[in-house]
């Protein structure tokens, strides 16, 4: 496999996981950007354990994930009750705070970051295993009673509470779950790039992920899956003169999508249409086979 294809596949998978972290909490109407900060924490701590303490890879991975989960849990306790905008602002602030902290701590290499993260064998397979695992988890969630409860919270919080849904607990649990996904994505990202620089985990990164999810569609988990490789791939395939305009293209796409198709390209109606369409095609093929069978008979 070529180097560029490997990086494309690897980073696409990581971006899909990150897109899902935003999608999952947005299911209850909260925009939680904390996974980007969690990503930085777990990546730095895992990298530090590997490089400075010489820990084995699996132990460092578990340590990084554990620290990331703890880091996601503490603000989640306070942000569980916060209104949507309070959460948006607090979690963006958290990204800036973590960037400042890692940029100013000499143990983590300051602005230069950390280099020489060891290579992980079969990383692509491991990454896609995680994508599969998280994908199944979210799919099962969406198609369960919990998914319906999340939908109710999104539509009307007051009615959801009246129906006995504990919105606070729901929010905290989802924040911790997405924090875990962010932690895993952070470490996978570091193993792919093999360097850790504070500027990676910044606002620009968040904007890219936001574009993938809101252009793709935030009401289903498939929007991210389809549009991450498409949008991310565009920047890889297109000539450099156009790639330089990436942020402008992303910005315009995001604006146009939200103005013309407020729920993104792949919304629930779109999925229903595909479902009905695929059923029709299947039925036509089936009836065609039946006719051929009858003619032969």
């Amino acid at each position: 496999m070529s180097f560029s294809l490997y990086y494309f596949l690897e980073l696409t998978a990581i971006f899909i996981i990150l897109g899902w972290t935003l999608y999952w909490v947005y299911r209850i109407g909260q925009l939680n950007n904390a996974p980007i900060a969690v990503m930085a924490v777990s990546a730095y701590l895992c990298g530090y354990a590997l490089l400075n303490w010489g820990w084995p890879l699996i132990l460092a991975f578990v340590f990084g994930a554990g620290c990331g989960i703890l880091f996601a849990f503490i603000p989640a306790l306070a942000l569980g009750r916060a209104p949507a905008f309070a959460m948006v602002i607090c979690t963006i602030a958290l990204i800036f705070i973590m960037q400042t902290v890692f940029r100013n701590l000499p143990w983590f290499g300051g602005s230069l970051g950390m280099f020489g993260i060891p290579k992980v064998k079969k990383l692509l397979l491991i990454t896609y295993c995680f994508v599969g695992f998280f994908g199944i988890l979210i799919y099962r969630f969406d198609h369960s009673r919990l998914g319906r409860a999340a939908e109710m919270i999104f539509v009307d919080r007051d009615i959801a509470s009246t129906l006995g849904i504990n919105i606070y607990l729901f929010s905290v649990c989802l924040q911790v779950m997405t924090g875990t996904m962010g932690a895993v994505a952070g470490m996978l990202y570091v193993f792919t790039i093999r360097t850790i620089v504070p500027t990676y985990f910044g606002f620009a990164f968040l904007l890219s992920i936001t574009t993938f999810i809101f252009v793709g569609g935030y009401t289903t988990m498939w929007g991210v899956v389809v549009f991450t490789p498409l949008l991310w791939g565009l920047t890889v395939i297109l000539p450099e003169s156009i790639t330089a305009l990436r942020n402008i293209i992303f910005g315009i796409l995001l604006m146009v999508t939200l103005l013309l198709r407020s729920e993104g390209v792949i919304d629930k109606r779109f999925l229903r249409k595909i479902n009905i369409g695929s059923k029709l095609v299947f039925m036509k093929i089936f009836s065609l086979f039946q006719k051929i069978k009858d003619v032969r008979g």
Binding site: A86, I92, A93, A244, N247
Partner: protein, 291 residues
């Protein structure tokens, strides 16, 4: 003590600019019915416009200041038709995402297409660095006085408009209930356009005051400023214009003191951390929302 006094003067100047920015932000939030994340980016782009005109005209201050104020007003007005359908739908969170997209475009323009992405510096004549009053190492410069006086005049002008004019009553009515305002015969679209114009004008003034106070600007300033303005607005209570002034001064003071007594860039983390903790404890802000 002298360091404290020097930082106190800087902090008051910075806090008064934040206050002006928060007024514009809250005006768009309450009257425009959107979450104007890109407002600070428009302010920073206006700083760039001022810098370009200053360069072209050989540091003609009047033209530079006019360029900053006019571009702030024009850029704010340009965004109005983009946000109008979202405001009509009441899609505030979507307006935040669209504003993020606008900020992404503005930041890209500033970081790649103006001055090769290099930090821009304003001429010393605009910054007004000459000391007027001196206490030991602490000095009050012409820039400080112009910044504080400019903010106070613009603030008083805005409050006069808000509480003493027909247009101000229309703003307040729309802030309370756009539906009731329409029933009372208030032209919603016209009032909204006027709110964007006023917010842009205040943003333009803020851009000049920021240029005087900071002396330089960069593409990342937009994101930093946006977060601070949003945090101050939330800290005071979203839409609470009076509370926003107090919160802006508190942030200015906290940042000024952290800048004086802490090494490196820790002041950023301190000011963001402080705001974050307060928002977590009182999510609706210190003074309550939409006053």
């Amino acid at each position: 003590m002298e360091v404290f006094t020097a930082q106190l003067i800087n902090a008051i100047a910075l806090g008064s600019i934040y206050a002006l920015l928060v007024i514009g932000f809250n005006l768009l939030l309450v009257v425009g019915g959107i979450f104007p994340f890109a407002y600070s980016h428009i302010v920073v782009l206006s700083m760039y416009m001022c810098w370009i005109v200053l360069r072209i005209t050989g540091d003609n201050l009047i033209l530079g200041i006019l360029a900053g104020i006019l571009s702030g007003t024009a850029l704010s007005l340009i965004t109005e038709p983009i946000f109008r359908p979202l405001a009509k739908r009441g899609a505030v969170l979507s307006s935040f995402i669209v504003a993020m997209a606008i900020s992404m475009i503005i930041t890209d323009i500033m970081s790649k297409r103006i001055h090769g992405g290099v930090v821009i510096s304003f001429p010393l004549t605009l910054q007004g660095k000459e000391a007027l009053i001196t206490f030991g190492i602490a000095t009050i410069t012409a820039g400080h006085i112009a910044t504080i006086a400019g903010s106070i005049i613009a603030g008083i002008g805005f409050f006069y408009l808000l509480y003493r004019t027909r247009q101000g009553r229309a703003f307040r009515a729309m802030g309370q209930s756009p539906f009731a305002a329409r029933l009372l015969g208030i032209p919603i679209v016209k009032t909204s356009i006027f709110a964007y114009m006023i917010a842009g004008f205040l943003g333009g003034i803020s851009s000049i005051l920021l240029a005087m106070s900071l002396g330089s600007a960069s593409a990342v300033l937009g994101d930093n400023l946006a977060l601070k303005v949003m945090a101050v607005a939330l800290f005071a209570g979203l839409g609470n214009i009076g509370g926003g002034l107090v919160a802006a001064m508190v942030l200015g003071l906290a940042e000024g003191m952290a800048l004086a007594y802490l090494p490196g860039e820790w002041y950023q983390a301190i000011s963001f951390g402080m705001i974050m903790v307060i928002i977590m404890i009182k999510p609706k802000g210190l003074f309550g929302a939409m006053a």
